[in-house]
Symmetry: C2
Subunit: 356 residues, 2 copies
């Protein structure tokens, strides 16, 4: 295999999956994993012991690809653009229980006209869309949707910027409380609200209580990444995804190793830049997955990476042609730069879904 390519450590991914399953089982929670990170049918099957189950998607292209692979319970968790409803309805006509997301009367009118059921998005932390708990528009939307109202959804997007157990647990509780509050208000007004959906990788791991919640969404956790390690949701040793690159040059005068893995491979995601420890474009490991202490990918051109050692650390003396792996800031963004996963220690290749 020529570099750069995307490496998936299946053993670590399975351990990450088992860990969240154990945590949610103890709380009585049902997982509806978000497949937007892996965008891989094979990875999704790992989540269901080889079978299928309820999933969350971020594009209709994912919905169609997973439906073709036998996944029939699908939540499309991005506010619906009315122009996409015919494609959603076509999936439903093929027997897929596709549910969309919305937060306005205009969207509800369009979804009802297309006979596509929906969850009402609730804003729990000001991160992006959703209605605020207590906003009377919830009742209006519910009336417009009628039987098409499946329930409510909250996503604590701000939890990615929380750090440490106390802040993460508070984010999880805020997410739960906002979703349950809107569900209860709707029920008090006579609406049926079968689904109360919450989740994000940080809050799913730090939820202490799922009272009133019917399902938990999380996606990133299968791979984890340096952003998740930075806020304390996992350890660097848990990261299941990396990019294999080749050393293509030295700048000993500058203390640099150059590789053939640039931003086209790692993505431009610099999610750790705002964290306590900025990990550049990623941490550098050997082919056994062991980090070179203090060695960071600090620079990226389109097809060049620059590796440097932090003060006091030592840059490994690797010849041109030697290979290293880079643990990424953000697994969703880095994986999206590739069309397939190469499974560590095997010849297996798992394809990714691409596009919209």
């Amino acid at each position: 295999m020529e570099t750069p390519f995307l490496v998936l450590d299946r053993t670590k991914a399975e351990a990450n999956i088992a860990r969240l399953r154990t945590h949610l089982t103890a709380l009585g929670g049902t997982l509806r994993p978000h497949v937007k990170t892996a965008k891989s049918v094979e990875v999704a099957r790992l989540l269901f012991d080889g079978g299928t189950g309820p999933i969350t998607v971020s594009t209709l292209a994912e919905a169609e690809a997973f439906a073709a692979a036998g996944f029939t319970d699908i939540l499309y968790a991005v506010g619906i653009a009315p122009g996409k409803l015919p494609r959603a309805a076509a999936l439903r006509q093929r027997g897929v229980d596709l549910v969309v997301l919305l937060d306005s009367v205009e969207q509800a009118i369009a979804a009802a006209a297309a006979s596509v059921p929906a969850l009402l998005e609730v804003d729990c932390d000001g991160h992006r869309g959703g209605i605020l708990p207590g906003d009377p528009v919830a009742g209006e939307i519910a009336r417009v949707l009628g039987d098409g109202l499946r329930g409510v959804l909250a996503h604590a997007g701000e939890s990615y910027f929380a750090e440490g157990p106390a802040a993460l647990t508070a984010a999880a509780e805020g997410e739960r409380r906002a979703a349950v509050r809107v569900a209860e208000d709707l029920r008090a007004a006579g609406h049926e609200v079968p689904v109360v959906s919450v989740g994000s990788t940080p809050t799913a791991h730090f939820a202490g209580n799922l009272d009133g919640v019917t399902e938990v969404r999380a996606g990133n956790f299968v791979f984890f990444d340096l952003v998740m390690a930075g806020i304390g949701v996992c350890e660097v040793a848990d990261l299941a995804l990396s990019v294999e690159t080749t050393v293509i040059g030295h700048r000993r005068d500058k203390g640099w190793l150059l590789t053939d893995g640039g931003w086209m491979a790692l993505s431009r995601d610099r999610g750790t830049a705002a964290q306590r420890v900025d990990q550049g474009y990623g941490l550098v490991t050997d082919l056994g997955g062991v980090p070179y202490p203090g060695v960071v990918m600090t620079g990226a051109s389109q097809e060049h990476g620059i590796l440097t050692a932090r003060p006091g650390a030592v840059l490994p003396d690797l010849p041109v042609g030697a290979r290293v792996r880079i643990l990424p800031n953000h697994a969703c963004a880095t994986a999206a730069q590739f069309d397939e996963y190469h499974l560590l220690g095997t010849d297996e290749v798992w394809p990714r879904v691409r596009g919209w």
Copy 2:
């Protein structure tokens, strides 16, 4: 067409191409465009009035795709990983004059063994790889390459951080002088140095003198982007590439419009963050390509964009389902998120080359 998708304004691209061609013709320069930005055979043909010509590539996948389309004079301008030489040699055996790039004796030994000719990379500004002018290793590499030495190459990567005509002209002159200096040193030592290759989009436009240069490389200029506009290489009105997105929600309490174009569509590139004017993830225009004054895409989730108005500006009152376009920070990175271009005002779709 469902959003998000990538829009190419062919008229603007052709004007950008004509502008650089006119400038280089006046200086007596030959253009070897870098196809890494567009990665499109059809866009490359625009550069050669419908025909083919000398090109620069950033991956062997590009080299193979362009060779299949009739481009036979190809420079692969990323320091060669020895493991990639068999694939480069295979292209040469099919009649393609593929030349690689290197800056070390180890790489030269490998290239010579594979009978693949090479340019010697010269560092003109400390940006990434290359030997420094005056470094005696140039002579060693030339001796190892023998007849395989095609010439020298410099790339003023730091010119992307210059701003204004004086700084950009100085970057161009520094790039030219470094390349010519190493070429002259090698000639003085008895080596033939037919090629002296320089270039980047900023320096190609601001070069005042190409004495001693045989070819100029540039790639981004076909599309341009907000980073290039920010340093004064083009105007915002010259930008030929944009992403069409749909409004999917409002947060009037926050002054936000939400769209279905997130970082999966725009990329995570925040290249203007370090410039005088931070353009967020991009500037927002109507479907005629006219910017909404002061309206910026300031936030991005995977499939969500957040549009806000700068202080004093007014967010347009667009309903759910309305469409806008986003002018990106970095055309290379944004285009890479898509598999095809949709040509503005036509039904034409031009594919992109992907992978390595």
